[in-house]
């Protein structure tokens, strides 16, 4: 019964599902190429520009035909700090050497990684559930609108998610075969995923723990050298990197302002979390995914799923603030939901095949799936074309020229000054936004705005404001700047205060 649907649709002709898979992956990739050259400000712009600056800095280390000043500036602007190993940035920078620096190169890579993740997802669900469920689960993964937007960004997350899926696929292969090949591949993929972004630890270790505890048994696993090799390979690259980072790269600061356990006690946190899930995968899909866990085989399928969901839950509990303020933290939820709902789909397809043996109803079902995919793809497309940021580079270039591309600028500008840095070739220190101040209050820090202003503007030449709403939210600073500092330049879209020539009444 399990493979009835596969028999009906694919008639056990492998070329048919292979062709379907290829079309799905191509469709998913093509969708992500829409509006390719739009500047990457549509989703998590700060994080994307962070990577863009880093990649450009890396690239200019190799550029020989650029003026030395520009080269040095690109390299210094690219020194934005370390969060994760710059894997994607390195790949993109190396590509720039062939193509020149184009921001959309990263978009192509991220899309490609995500789509390749779809391949692994298909193989995983096919083995877990059925071919039909794999097709629908993979369609969900490729075309869910949030995923379409988030998966083509210049961030490590799409690559991380793809590697997580490959890791889970190899983990399940290992669970079923206990072969060294899959154990080592799990270690390699998992190690890579953790290396690319260590936040993948929750999902990967969750899945691994689920398989060890639920499917294979702890006792047996402890005595199994394969399990030990898997664990060692998993932690080795990221372990070395973290050690190196802590000792050499001052990475310890990355862990500040991330952990807010008191939010656990606030019911609103859970409601917001749920709202975020609804936004990412949809209420219906998330509920169906959870219900589908009930339909899994206790020994073979459920442990992996339990592990994934528990891992996701712990991820959210560890980063409660980021979980509802940074939607890309939810990206790994998409494959988890896709895998989970596959069991419900498998079951429904089996029932469908039972009630509808004819070809006509199969065609209708295929039509419904296609219809659903087209609607989702259209939503995704609508999001991709809903905004046009092509006027941004010129705007920031103008400000950069005004400011002179030199040091001594502090700003209340979009994305902590990254837009100014990238398109304006102008470095700047970022003045706190009200959200930054809020998160510090949440962390129990006390902030003296006047003292902070004095310290942060010391030695600076200009104070740039391009976020006027935010400026209005900080009336003390606004009043201080307007009453004590002359305006160096201004338009409707920006104002630059001259900090070097304050008016007579000093603050």
């Amino acid at each position: 019964m399990k493979r009835i649907f596969a028999k009906i649709i694919f008639r056990e002709r492998p070329w048919m599902w292979k062709m379907t898979l290829a079309l799905m992956l191509l469709g998913g990739f093509a969708l992500r190429m829409i509006n390719l050259t739009n500047p990457p400000l549509d989703f998590a712009p700060t994080r994307q520009l962070f990577s863009a600056l880093k990649a450009r800095g890396m690239y200019y280390q190799y550029v020989t035909d650029a003026p030395d000043g520009k080269r040095q500036l690109a390299i210094s602007l690219g020194d934005v700090g370390i969060v994760e190993p710059p894997v994607l940035e390195t790949i993109v920078a190396q590509t720039y050497r062939l193509t020149g620096d184009h921001l959309w190169i990263a978009r192509i890579y991220s899309s490609l990684f995500w789509v390749l993740g779809g391949l692994a997802l298909f193989l995983l669900i096919r083995e877990l559930a059925s071919t039909g469920a794999a097709i629908i689960g993979t369609l969900f993964y490729l075309f869910v609108p949030f995923g379409v937007v988030a998966s083509r960004t210049f961030m490590p997350d799409p690559l991380m998610v793809a590697l997580i899926i490959f890791t889970l696929w190899t983990l399940f292969r290992w669970q079923n075969t206990a072969r060294w090949k899959w154990a080592i591949l799990f270690g390699i993929f998992g190690g890579l995923a953790l290396f690319v972004k260590n936040l993948s630890v929750f999902i990967i270790v969750g899945g691994f723990a689920g398989v060890i505890l639920g499917a294979r048994g702890l006792k047996r696993s402890i005595r199994d050298p394969q399990a030990w090799v898997m664990a060692v390979l998993l932690v080795l690259p990221v372990g070395i990197y973290m050690l190196y980072g802590s000792l050499r790269l001052n990475m310890g600061s990355q862990f500040a302002l991330r952990f807010f356990p008191k939010m656990w006690l606030d019911p609103a946190f859970y409601f917001r979390w749920d709202a975020m899930i609804n936004n990412v995968v949809g209420f219906g899909a998330s509920m169906f995914a959870i219900v589908s866990i009930f339909l899994t085989d206790k020994k073979r399928e459920r442990p992996l799923l339990f592990g994934l969901w528990i891992g996701y839950f712990l991820f959210g509990m560890t980063f409660p603030y980021h979980f509802y303020t940074h939607d890309y933290y939810q990206l790994s939820l998409i494959p988890i939901v896709a895998i989970s709902l596959a069991f419900g789909i498998r079951w429904l397809l089996e029932r469908f095949a039972k009630y509808n043996p004819g070809i006509l109803s199969t065609v209708v079902l295929v039509g419904i799936v296609l219809f659903g995919t087209v609607v989702q793809a259209w939503y995704g497309r609508a999001r991709l074309v809903s905004s046009d940021y092509r006027n941004e580079p010129a705007f920031w270039a103008e400000i950069g020229d005004k400011l002179g591309h030199g040091p001594g600028v502090i700003g209340l500008t979009q994305d902590y000054g990254y837009r100014l840095a990238y398109w304006g070739w102008q470095g700047s220190a970022a003045w706190f936004t009200s959200a930054d101040i809020g998160v510090r209050y949440l962390a129990g820090q006390d902030i003296d705005l006047m003292q902070m202003f004095t310290e942060d503007t010391a030695g600076k030449k200009y104070f740039l404001v391009t976020m006027f709403g935010e400026f209005d939210n900080q009336p003390v600073i606004k009043d201080l700047l307007y009453s004590h500092y002359p305006i160096f330049a201004q338009t409707d879209e920006y104002v630059i205060f001259d900090l070097e020539h304050p008016s007579e009444s000093q603050p």
Partner: protein
């Protein structure tokens, strides 16, 4: 047809009853939240229209009312054109006899009617021997966010949808029993639904035709006296009402500006329609419901579902403009999607309940309640975020400023309903930009401004503008009024301007 082959959980009557009671209590509770707020949250024009009708009916026989109020209330009621029989309004007016005029009575009736529709859904699912699916479908019907908002609005639509649900129950019951009693009940309930609001004909005609067609031979269908009886009983009330409407009132005028076949040639109309459909019903639910068509075990309900979808499509093709601009036109969609969800949810619930133990079953119920509570929280947030209570005082004050006995021409954003209802001032309406656009879409030419203006202000005392956006966008009118008439009162903050039409000034 009913059998006992239900999942264990739903065989225990007390547990099923308890669950259903919890659903209904929660559904009523969320609808009564923020009960006394003004009905500005959803399509207020239509809600205030019903409020005016109900108040007029009540004041007609209210001995304690002052004469001017009675006359005005009755005139306002009579001034509203006949669209559908004022059943909700009459019921509300009767209740005013006990409670006095309360703006929230209509909201309570609408909510209760919707809940009664939920009962019909549950009974229908029981008739199909799909209790598990019935509970999930009922939860969807009661808590889908769009329905929560619309079903508490003082419109005939919640009653119409409830009547559609009851008609579906009766039609299916007739299919099962095929007795004269069942046929008459089916005819009565179907006819009642169409009488309440004639657009119910689209899904119900589709469902009824689908049901009859599922019986097979045309000869048999045509020879069935019961079928003809159902058709006759269904049609009679509406035919009588339309004859009455056309002969004794202006019912015919309701058909103008409704049909825009030009829109059917525009592909973007279909895309927007699709987005609206998926948005109102929820993409996953819509998708599952469409799949549900293929999962009905017999042709009767399957063809009913197909018929309803065809009816919904025909409905949209008949009223393309209103489908894009009037959200509540899509309300029958909820009952259509709910109907299709029953078999899908039932299969799922059966499998979950059969496969898993008591703890899992409890977890499943917990998950259902969790999902519902999340939906309620979202609905509650959206209701709590808007508070219109302060508006009442503004309109009352404006009514006093204008004078209840004045004849006015009004440019408003709500066809003058708030001023009429809350301010007790009747006004003739100056066309809004949307009205002009609608007439233009219908191929009607725009009248000459000066001629139109002169015609409309003849015999009027004042020109009152209560919509700043309209005031801004109608430059001709603004220019003409400010140069030719004296502004006797205005408040830009509150957003009104009053011109004295008796005392023109020389430009």
């Amino acid at each position: 047809m009913e059998n006992d082959n239900h999942p264990k959980l739903f065989v225990k009557p007390w547990l099923t009853t308890a669950l259903i009671v919890v659903l209904f209590v929660a559904a009523l509770g969320i609808r009564l939240y923020d009960l006394t707020d003004l009905p500005n949250d959803f399509y207020m024009v239509r809600q205030y229209r019903s409020l005016l009708i109900a108040r007029g009916m009540y004041y007609e026989h209210l001995p304690t009312a002052s004469e001017w109020q009675r006359n005005l209330a009755v005139a306002q009621w009579k001034g509203e054109g006949l669209i559908e029989p004022p059943i909700m309004e009459a019921l509300t007016a009767l209740t005013y006899d006990f409670t006095g005029v309360q703006i929230w009575i209509g909201r309570i009736y609408a909510s209760l009617f919707w809940l009664s529709g939920g009962l019909a859904i549950w009974l229908l699912a029981r008739k199909m021997s799909m209790r598990g699916g019935g509970i999930i479908a009922l939860a969807y019907f009661l808590f889908v966010p769009f329905a929560v908002t619309v079903s508490r609005a003082f419109l005939p639509d919640p009653l119409m949808v409830a009547a559609i649900a009851w008609a579906l129950w009766a039609l299916y019951r007739w299919e099962l029993r095929h007795t004269w009693k069942a046929a008459i009940l089916a005819g009565v309930l179907t006819g009642l639904a169409i009488l309440i609001k004639s657009v119910a004909v689209f899904p119900l005609l589709g469902a009824a035709v689908g049901l009859v067609v599922s019986r097979g031979s045309l000869k048999r269908i045509l020879a069935d006296k019961q079928t003809w009886a159902v058709v006759g009983i269904t049609a009679i009330p509406t035919i009588i009402y339309y004859i009455y409407g056309f002969t004794s009132s202006d019912l015919g005028s309701q058909f103008s500006l409704r049909f825009f076949p030009e829109m059917l040639k525009d592909p973007s109309f279909y895309v927007r329609w699709l987005f609206l459909t998926a948005g109102f019903s929820g993409f996953a639910a819509m998708f599952a419901s469409l799949t549900g068509i293929l999962l009905f075990p017999s042709n009767g309900p399957r063809f009913m579902a197909i018929g309803m979808w065809i009816g919904y499509i025909a409905y949209g093709l008949a009223f393309p403009y209103h489908f894009m601009t009037h959200d509540y036109y899509h309300l029958p969609l909820i009952v259509i999607v709910t109907f299709g969800l029953i078999p899908v949810a039932d299969l799922l619930v059966r499998q979950v309940m059969q496969k898993t133990g008591g703890l899992w079953q409890a977890a499943f119920i917990g998950l259902l309640l969790f999902g519902i509570s999340m939906q309620m929280w979202l609905a509650r947030n959206s209701m709590a975020s808007a508070n219109y209570r302060d508006e009442a005082a503004f309109w009352q004050e404006l009514g006093q400023t204008i004078g209840h006995d004045k004849s006015i021409v009004e440019l408003s954003g709500d066809y003058g309903y708030r001023l009429a209802y809350l301010g007790w001032v009747n006004g003739s309406q100056w066309s809004t930009t949307a009205d002009v656009a609608l007439r233009s879409l219908a191929g009607q030419s725009q009248p000459d401004f000066a001629t139109d203006f002169a015609k409309r202000i003849a015999g009027m005392d004042l020109f009152v503008i209560t919509s700043p956006p309209e005031w801004q966008s109608q430059a001709d009118l603004r220019e003409y009024l400010t140069t030719h008439y004296q502004l006797i009162a205005s408040d830009e903050g509150d957003g009104y301007w009053i011109f004295d039409l008796h005392d023109p000034v020389s430009p």
